[in-house]
Amino acid sequence: MRSNGPIERDLAGSAVSGGDAGGAVGDAREAEFQALIEADQRIEPRDWMPDAYRKTLIRQIAQHAHSEIIGMQPEGNWITRAPSLRRKAILMAKVQDEAGHGLYLYCAAETLGVDRSELIDLLHQGRQKYSSIFNYPTLTYADVGAIGWLVDGAAITNQIPLCRCSFGPYARAMVRVCKEESFHQRQGFELLYALSHGTPEQHEMAQDAVNRWWWPSLEMLGPPDTESTHSAQSMAWGIKRFSNDELRQRFVDMVAPQAVVLDLVPPDPALRWNEERGHYDFGPCDFEELRRVVSGDGPCNRQRAAHHLKAHEDGAWVRAAAAAYAAKHAASAAA
């Protein structure tokens, strides 16, 4: 059932700050909510929550769900050309996992009073986004490895703290997702390792993929803290635990030593261990590029959107048939 209430109008908008419960009753609920957050307790769907909290979560969970689904496309691009049956099985299972992640997340969003079809409409209208990273093309099989190692790696960095998110259904979905993501990152690392230690041509293929996916993966963790619009409020609400730049540093600290094991060189001359900081230093991201891709002008934005829309429209008669069949049989069961 499609609802067209005020929530729907605001879904696409960005978070507004602060709660909006008016009056004394509102204040008491607000205080209770705030106390739960401060005690690091989980908010459940039936609990009272400020509208802005609800809207922020719907926006974030929907965007996350859309990312899982759109993320099936770049890797799915290689399923029919996988170079061995073993790789084919791994890739199919991985892409299927991403579909499953999308499903858990749409379900988590639905606990907030929206439904999947509404969210998908908003995606098609361009009013909700998905991760910018999936707007890059996969040009060789090594890209499957680079995506697993770097993109799933960045996703894990981002998602592990979300397992402690203040909203229960989102936190629980993330626990399931994170378990599978570690398999995704491992298979990517293992593929790149095999290529890097294979023939010179395979090594070059792996290096080329890392050259192309390195920076977009760092950028996928979001704009720098100085420009991040939603961060402060999300931190206060226990939705976000670390800033974008903190997550980026964690990610680089994880993958930089792994690159050495892979015998592949990240395309960043400034990348080096900083003894004093206890972290890797790295060069500046091209956030202008990120902005361009997020706003719709990446290499594959149009293609990804058109693909998803076509699949959805091509399937409309199937969903209609399922609904008609269910209605007929519900009617005959009731008769």
């Binding site: 170079p83 892409v95 299927q96 095999a194 294979g198 693909h307 008669w317 969903r319 008609a324 069949y325």
Partner: protein
């Protein structure tokens, strides 16, 4: 006796599974619902696993010691011995579902018979495959009912799918020297013997789905001898290209 009848009979099954798996995998990110995207990939993964197990057994039976990838990627069209039905293009969701119904019902009967194969390894593979294929058939059955008895459009599409695919079902039950010898050795069933169970199930489901089997005189055949449809060549070209571009490497 045909030389290597047992190996040819296991290869036929492996090729059926691989080709059908590949066709289903082409649905990834294109299915009408997220749930069905997951289901079709699940089925494709099961079939791929069945193919790999049967290639491994074939390599022992034919004594060539070929790898699963040799079978999948290094043979040309004329060497593939899958039936024509599995290689038919996906078409719309109705076509894919009907192909699934026809294939999985056949494969289930085949795996059930293979559980008593005199080849212990084949029997073990079959025991696992029976459980998987029961689910494949249930999935196809559920959707056949919904689409056949859903809307006018879905009914129409199922009828078109039946008209397109039904002719290819005759080949499934053809016996030849290979299948008769394999049956004689107790390795596998003679396809002829799978017909009754298949007919009974398909007739019942199509009937429940308000669908009528078309009368057709055309009975295309040749897959078991490596005579395929044109579309199959494109499928193989795409599937094999990368593997063949880097001869002898490990992935």
């Amino acid at each position: 006796m045909v030389a290597g009848a047992a190996a040819v009979s296991t290869l036929r099954i492996a090729d059926d599974c691989l080709v059908l798996s590949h066709r289903l995998a082409q649905w990834s990110s294109w299915a009408p619902t997220l749930e069905d995207d997951i289901a079709l990939t699940n089925i494709a993964l099961d079939l791929l696993g069945q193919a790999r197990a049967m290639y491994a057994r074939t390599a022992e039976l034919d004594g060539t010691g070929r790898s699963e990838d040799d079978y999948a990627f290094m043979r040309d069209e004329r060497a593939f011995v899958n039936c024509l039905l599995v290689e038919q293009e996906n078409g719309d969701f109705a076509t894919t579902i009907l192909r699934q119904l026809l294939c999985s019902t056949y494969q289930l009967a085949q795996w059930q018979a293979l559980t008593t194969s005199t080849d212990g390894q084949v029997a073990a593979i079959a025991a696992k495959a029976v459980k998987e294929t029961e689910y494949h058939r249930d999935h196809a059955t559920d959707w056949t009912l919904r689409l056949g008895d859903g809307t006018d459009e879905s009914h129409q599409r199922m009828e078109s799918a039946l008209a397109a695919l039904w002719p290819f079902t005759a080949e499934l039950f053809e016996s030849d020297d290979v299948s008769r010898d394999a049956a004689g050795l107790g390795v596998g069933p003679d396809p002829e013997d799978l017909r009754a169970a298949w007919d009974a199930y398909i007739t019942r489901v199509l009937d429940d789905a308000t669908l009528v089997v078309p009368k057709v005189s055309w009975k295309p055949t040749g897959g078991r001898q490596g005579l395929h449809t044109e579309a199959f060549g494109y499928m193989l070209a795409e599937m094999q290209h990368l593997h063949r571009s880097f001869p002898g490497v490990t992935w």
